[in-house]
């Protein structure tokens, strides 16, 4: 029931890290990230000189936050396809409500949190209590949010975000030696990462992983499966809300904001070696997966690859990453799973029907 041990052995020396490489998981994605950073360094040696690195961190922070949220849901054995739409909805709603007024910033952020909480609750309760597969639930939420927000704004986003709202996404602590400016986005992502790691080590986190691994067994051992999974959905929606604040600040308000983010977040989590279907993988790996994906996009721009080509590479990478994880599964899975070599899926989708 414990999360994969890689998280615990991390940092206990290079030897342990090397040994972990063969097993995959956190160490594998860390190595991949290092390789991509090395690739970036050969193209652009000044990348690690502080300001460019901070700019990268600022750009990557929203995806990291989204990956944490998506991790919570995926490790419990579900999906959340609604986060992209939720990010878009939150940004547009915030712009309309704030409409450039500074004094509205904090109340609106509070309101966004409540809205995120409500969306997460609906996703979670419909999935667990009404036993609708999560892929359908969150697909429905995605359609509902998409339509409702556009209906409310008449198709095009109106209003503007205030300066203090945008500060979270594009300002930081200035005048720091060497680094130049530490973006707020980086600090927020760091705090949330640490929080998520602590959360996954708490009884709640253990129950979450246990539920994703085998929800019947978890239920027999006293976990309230429905409550744990609903909490995961709430967590995912709250993380999407935080990401919306960061993205709105960084990129501003457009009608397309948030499009396709759900699949990018799932890609990031899977790249970190977290198994779809639940029960395996660490939150640190998911965060590293998000960083790796963002670093890869940076590398593309440095090689002057046409940006239209990015999806192809993204597609190849996630297939390769999951194929690699499946191969590694051969060596590592317990007997119970290993004796079904022909099983076409690791575990299928939307297994909320219990």
């Amino acid at each position: 029931m414990t999360p994969t041990p890689t998280q615990d052995t991390r940092g206990s020396g290079a030897l342990a890290a090397l040994a972990a490489l063969g097993r995959g998981g956190t160490a594998t994605v860390a190595l991949l990230l290092a390789l991509i950073f090395a690739g970036i360094a050969t193209q652009n040696p000044s990348f690690f000189e502080g300001p460019p690195l901070m700019a990268f961190a600022q750009k990557a922070a929203p995806l990291v936050v989204l990956a944490i949220g998506q991790y919570l849901v995926i490790v419990s054995g579900e999906f959340d396809l609604s986060v992209g739409s939720l990010v878009g909805a939150q940004v547009v709603v915030a712009a309309r409500l704030i409409d450039g007024r500074e004094d509205m910033t904090l109340p609106v952020i509070g309101l966004m949190m409540l809205f995120g909480l409500a969306v997460g609750l609906v996703n979670g309760l419909v999935t667990t209590l009404l036993r609708v597969p999560s892929i359908i639930t969150t697909l429905g939420t995605m359609l509902i949010l998409f339509g409702a927000v556009r209906y409310w704004t008449g198709g095009a986003p109106t209003g503007a975000l205030s300066e203090s709202f945008r500060a979270f996404g594009r300002r930081g602590i200035e005048g720091v030696p060497v680094l130049g400016e530490i973006p707020w986005a980086l600090l927020i992502a760091l705090v949330l990462t640490v929080g998520a790691v602590l959360c996954m080590r708490s009884p709640f986190g253990r129950s979450l992983v246990a539920t994703g691994d085998n929800d019947v067994a978890a239920a027999f051992s006293g976990v309230r499966v429905w409550r744990v999974r609903t909490m995961a959905f709430v967590g995912s929606s709250l993380m999407a809300t935080v990401a919306a604040v960061l993205i709105g600040g960084y990129a501003g308000v457009t009608a397309q904001v948030g499009d396709g983010l759900e699949f990018t977040a799932i890609t990031a989590v899977v790249l970190g070696g977290v198994v779809l279907g639940g029960g395996r993988g660490t939150v640190v790996a998911a965060v590293l997966g998000a960083l790796t994906l963002e670093a890869l996009f940076t590398l593309f721009t440095q090689f002057y690859l046409p940006s239209t080509f990015q999806p192809s590479v993204q597609g190849l990478i996630i297939i390769a990453a999951v194929a690699y994880a499946a191969r590694r599964g051969d060596l590592r899975l317990p007997e119970r799973l290993r004796r079904r070599p022909d099983h076409p899926t690791e575990r299928s989708l939307g297994t909320s029907r219990r």
């Binding site: 999906f79 419909v126 667990t128 209590l129 009404l130 036993r131 609708v132 597969p133 892929i135 359908i136 639930t137 697909l139 429905g140 995605m142 359609l143 509902i144 339509g147 409702a148 556009r150 209906y151 019947v216 239920a219 027999f220 309230r224 499966v225 429905w226 409550r227 699949f263 799932i266 899977v270 779809l276 279907g277 046409p306 239209t308 080509f309 990015q310 999806p311 192809s312 590479v313 993204q314 597609g315 996630i318 297939i319 999951v322 194929a323 499946a326 191969r327 599964g329 079904r340 022909d342 099983h343 076409p344 899926t345 690791e346 299928s348 989708l349 939307g350 297994t351 029907r353 219990r354």
Partner: protein
């Protein structure tokens, strides 16, 4: 629809289901929907079943139908295909550039298009079975690969469809568009394939439990790969229909969200998302339900954004009704698994649970993993 706290309608639904079967229930829902819609439209002094509206409804359903029939096969063997929208987009481009406006190249164009689509399906199937990549990721990745190719190489319309083939998109026999006839023919073929052929049976077996299927001597990779190939080919046919209607290859049709709509139609049709249960007949009803909704929303001039909201609500509600309709109790695979835990999930504990004895407690599906 059915409020979760009242067991009586649920029980009524369950007994109705036992008499009609899931597919019958879906067709009943379709009939009710048609009647309600016709009444709503009539209340505004219009007629739902005019020629124009019927043709619109049937044309909508033929496109979604192609995609959903293929998707049914894949979902039945417990896989999933998120690449169908991209395959359809690629197919429009392949068909239009191969035909290049020359009527004598129509057959070649169709053959090449379906061939390319089939190869993509083969790749999907092999990645899912051979490399054991989760189908969600495998087909999403495949879709992204195709998207990158299309975005890089085809910025605008490409190629040209000869008038002879555009007829596929527009010809109709009284109110029946030819494309709908092709779609229905394909549905019948798919039903026969599932009911009458060895591979068809194996698809159900593998979807029900791959391990049991393997122990019974089925090479479980074969049905899955076959289903993926067929699914991509039907997506190719959908692409041909789109190309015939547009008269050219348009790479951007993938943004229509067809894959998710097709999955919604399959699930609405009563096919179990975890494989092994359901069928193409229900899917056709699911497709007709979605197409009816679209047509009615158009006739009633519902705001297009409200339409999205309503569609989302209806899909969730319908699936919730199916889930509550008792299919967890309807098929207990391994009843020897012991008594259910006191609170296996949310059901008994969370609700007020007035009389737990009247509701068969859901059995853990022992064979599921």
């Amino acid at each position: 629809m059915t409020p979760p706290s009242t067991p009586a309608p649920t029980r009524a639904l369950r007994s109705l289901r036992s008499r009609l079967g899931t597919t019958g229930l879906v067709y009943l829902a379709l009939a009710v929907l048609l009647a309600v819609s016709a009444a709503l439209v009539a209340a505004r002094g219009e007629n739902l079943l005019t020629t124009a509206n019927t043709v619109d409804l049937l044309t909508r359903s033929s496109l979604l139908g192609f995609l959903a029939i293929g998707q049914t096969l894949v979902i039945l063997c417990r896989s999933l295909d998120l690449s169908v929208g991209y395959v359809a987009a690629l197919s429009t481009v392949v068909a239009a550039t191969t035909m290049a406006g020359d009527p004598s190249r129509v057959v070649l164009g169709v053959a090449v298009t379906l061939g390319v689509a089939g190869l993509i399906g083969l790749a999907n199937g092999l990645v899912v079975t051979g490399l054991r990549v989760n189908p969600f990721i495998a087909t999403l990745g495949m879709g992204l690969i195709i998207k990158g190719y299309l975005d890089t190489n085809f910025q605008g319309p490409a190629g040209e469809i000869p008038a002879a083939f555009q007829a596929f998109g527009y010809t109709r026999i009284s109110v029946l568009p030819v494309s709908t006839l092709v779609m229905l023919g394909m549905a019948v073929a798919a039903v026969l394939f599932l009911r009458r052929t060895r591979t068809g049976y194996h698809i159900y077996a593998v979807g029900g439990d791959a391990e049991v299927a393997r122990l019974s001597g089925i090479r479980s990779g074969v049905p899955t790969v076959t289903a993926h190939v067929l699914c991509s080919v039907t997506a190719g046919v959908a692409g041909l229909l789109l190309a015939a209607r547009f008269g050219t290859g348009s790479a951007t049709v993938y943004s229509g969200g067809y894959e998710l709509e097709a999955i919604a139609a399959v699930v609405l049709g009563g096919t179990y998302l975890l494989g092994g249960r359901g069928g193409v007949a229900g899917t056709v009803a699911g497709v007709l339900i979605l197409a009816t909704l679209d047509t009615v929303f158009n006739v009633l001039a519902v705001d297009p954004f409200v339409k999205e909201v309503l569609r989302g609500v209806i899909v969730i509600a319908a699936v919730a009704v199916y889930a509550r309709g008792g299919n967890s109790g309807a098929r207990t695979r391994f009843p020897s698994g012991g008594a259910a835990p006191p609170s296996p999930g949310p059901r008994p504990g969370s609700r007020a649970a007035p009389d737990p004895g009247s509701e068969p407690s859901p059995q853990p599906l022992g064979g599921r993993r």
